[in-house]
Symmetry: C2
Subunit: 422 residues, 2 copies
């Protein structure tokens, strides 16, 4: 495991920071009434990458400005060689050995993180959500179809996924309004239109596609197309989902909001933390075979803070628990010839471990609402209540440092009294 | 039913044309090596709307150029009042009563349709496909789950839909490569990765969202957001679909291609052809109630031409056969608060009538492959074969005129021998 890369910027060397020099995650920020700019987190500061580019001090493309936009998509489109060269150059400007000119440039073109507002780091082209956690699929399947038929027949062969709604993706901190929808009680003859009573989270990692494809790609090619990862909360209205999802899958139950962390952690930063996918219980078809370990050792947690109260941890898990990697999911996504584009977002699927307190959704944690989760404050939860704030966190742990994403949070607002009142 | 509006442009007055003055559909064209331009079809010509705007002869927005782009999205974003004013102005320039200056402008800024190549008329923001044809859902359900459980329990309450893949949308004339995918035979222990043997069409109409929304909208508000309609072929690999679709819906089976007609027929042009949605077999929830008739009397047909042979009609149906209108689908789409954007495309779902020869897919026409469809050439088809060209057509019929979309066609190319050979 590589060591902390030390920086002349002291706050980047703290064992507490999520943003040491080893990380350098990509985000979009603004300060005051200023415009949205591309930024890179380091310690307690944000480097103004847009400003460095405009000043000619650090350019991704000598010919064209790619960071004069409120998203990293144009940069991603330049491809892995540029990603690598840019990271190397920026590392050089921040390393302890950096010369005075580099230190001056960074000092001029950076702001305190505490003064910045963070925005969506990239423009989401299309969004696909997968179902690649075996413990999650087994838990949900057991509740819905019984233990014998828990895993769908295709699950061990296909990285099951469905298309989500890109327009639902919001950045951490955006409040989430409890949705209305069609809900049918167990004994109800007809459905009612009402606010969801079973609003839930799903703890996921999102992989960001940084290169396009126009035909089937191998897992190795898919791996090379991935730019980085974000934390992702796939807010889910379980009561709406239960009534709508047959036969064509989840739709409005997943369309209210999908929250992502403000920072994209690059594949390069996560490289030292690669972890193997688990043993295969059924042989995979050759097109899904992996040359390299496709998962990462990323510690994940979920905390819940009721309105006005302190937060309680409700789950701890690890991205290693997944059955399929993002590269396998992306390769499968292209089998049909489906074109993939820069800025496509792939949700991993809910990340649950084997232990009861390692489950990535309240549906599982409360076992369908039957076993309320106890919070440190004495409160209990089956599903989310109005005013609850949900915080996903994640980091990879190096020797004396951590690589983090920043909080991925959202507060539940009460449902509209009348969704059609204007 | 309103009469033909006559034009000084003679070809627009023919009973044969799909593009009389009553139509004025929106498309994107190029001539030779020229750039892509916004155009409007009239008779056998295309009006260069981009050119008229640049010359100041017909502007949608006095302040900004909205047609200096290879798509109509910016124009759509201006909203219904502008759509209406632009149509009125253009109608005036083309009507028999038009003055010499208007006729000169149109003559200068138009090209023969025969010389033009047509492109996607709008940039697809996101794509949703519905399942709103009751005959289709009943036929498919009967094949998959038996006659007793044909219609899913939620079908009469929800306009069932799922998110599709916007990147798969192509314009008429684009060849469609037979996809590879995971397929499991009835007696196979494990799935194989192979070219689809059950490639199918789905005859649909696509509604184009021309205005954004950020919360739940009523059916009346949804109706006002719709800009127009295209023909749509939702190419479907039935064998891939059967193995992948549980529990989260169709994914790669629908991602190879979605072909749309080159012309967007505006809601205004279809206005005289409104038709009611059918009687409700179960009361709809109030949020789905319609104030106006939400369907249209649009005659639809499917023709199939084997490679090198003449085409045979294989189905005739009508958009009146649907159970839910596009406005109802769009209203349902927003119930969760899902944001909708300019350029979102909503597939109606397969349009099948009651009669066997009015079914909008080969799955239904051949009853799951058991009853081959006879072509006029003596050939038979269960599913599509390599080299087959599929042509969807549609028009509303007025008194002495037709409002058409242009052919929505595609030819099936053989599967790649090895999808991973480079």
């Amino acid at each position: 495991m590589i060591k902390l890369l030390t920086s002349w910027l002291e706050s980047a060397n703290s064992a507490e920071t999520l943003f040491p020099l080893n990380n350098l995650p990509y985000g979009v920020f603004s300060v005051g009434d200023g415009d949205l700019r591309c930024g890179v987190a380091i310690g307690d500061r944000i480097i103004d990458a847009t400003g460095l580019e405009a000043a000619g001090l650090l350019r991704a493309d000598p010919q064209a400005d790619v960071l004069d936009a409120p998203y990293w998509n144009d940069f991603m489109g330049l491809g892995p060689k540029v990603w690598s060269a840019y990271r190397t150059a920026l590392t050089g400007m921040l390393a302890e050995s950096a010369d005075a000119a580099a230190q001056d440039a960074v000092t001029t073109f950076s702001v305190p993180m505490a003064e910045a507002v963070l925005h969506l780091p990239f423009r989401v082209s299309e969004y696909t959500d997968f179902y690649a956690g075996k413990h999650h699929a087994t838990n949900v399947g057991t509740m819905f179809r019984g233990a014998k038929n828990a895993l769908p027949e295709n699950w061990l062969s296909i990285p099951i996924g469905y298309n989500g709604r890109a327009s639902s993706v919001v950045v951490s901190g955006t409040p989430v309004r409890r949705p209305w929808g069609q809900i049918k009680g167990a004994d109800g003859e007809l459905p009612v239109f009402a606010p969801s009573q079973r609003l839930d989270l799903e703890l996921e990692l999102g992989a960001i596609v940084g290169q396009p494809s126009s035909g089937p790609v191998t897992v190795a090619e898919a791996e090379a197309m991935i730019f980085g990862y974000v934390l992702l909360n796939d807010w889910s209205a379980r009561d709406i989902q239960a009534w709508e999802y047959q036969p064509l899958g989840p739709f409005q139950s997943k369309a209210t909001a999908t929250t992502i962390s403000p920072w994209i952690v690059s594949k390069a930063a996560l490289e030292p933390f690669r972890a193997p996918t688990p043993p295969r219980e059924r042989p995979l078809l050759p097109y899904l075979a992996e040359a390299t370990s496709g998962l990462y050792d990323i510690e994940l947690s979920v905390a819940l803070a009721p309105s006005g109260m302190r937060e309680s941890a409700i789950a701890h898990t690890n991205f290693r628990e997944m059955y399929y990697s993002a590269a396998q999911q992306l390769a499968h996504h292209t089998t049909s010839g489906c074109p993939m584009n820069v800025g496509d977002l792939l949700g991993s699927g809910t990340i649950s471990g084997r232990a009861p307190d390692s489950r990535g959704s309240l549906l599982e944690l409360s076992w369908g609402g039957k076993e309320p989760v106890k919070l440190d404050t004495g409160e209990t939860r089956t599903f989310l209540e109005d005013g609850d704030t949900l915080i996903l966190r994640g980091h990879a742990r190096g020797n004396g440092y951590r690589i983090g994403f920043g909080d991925c949070s959202g507060t539940v607002l009460p449902a509209l009294e009348d969704p059609y009142a204007r």
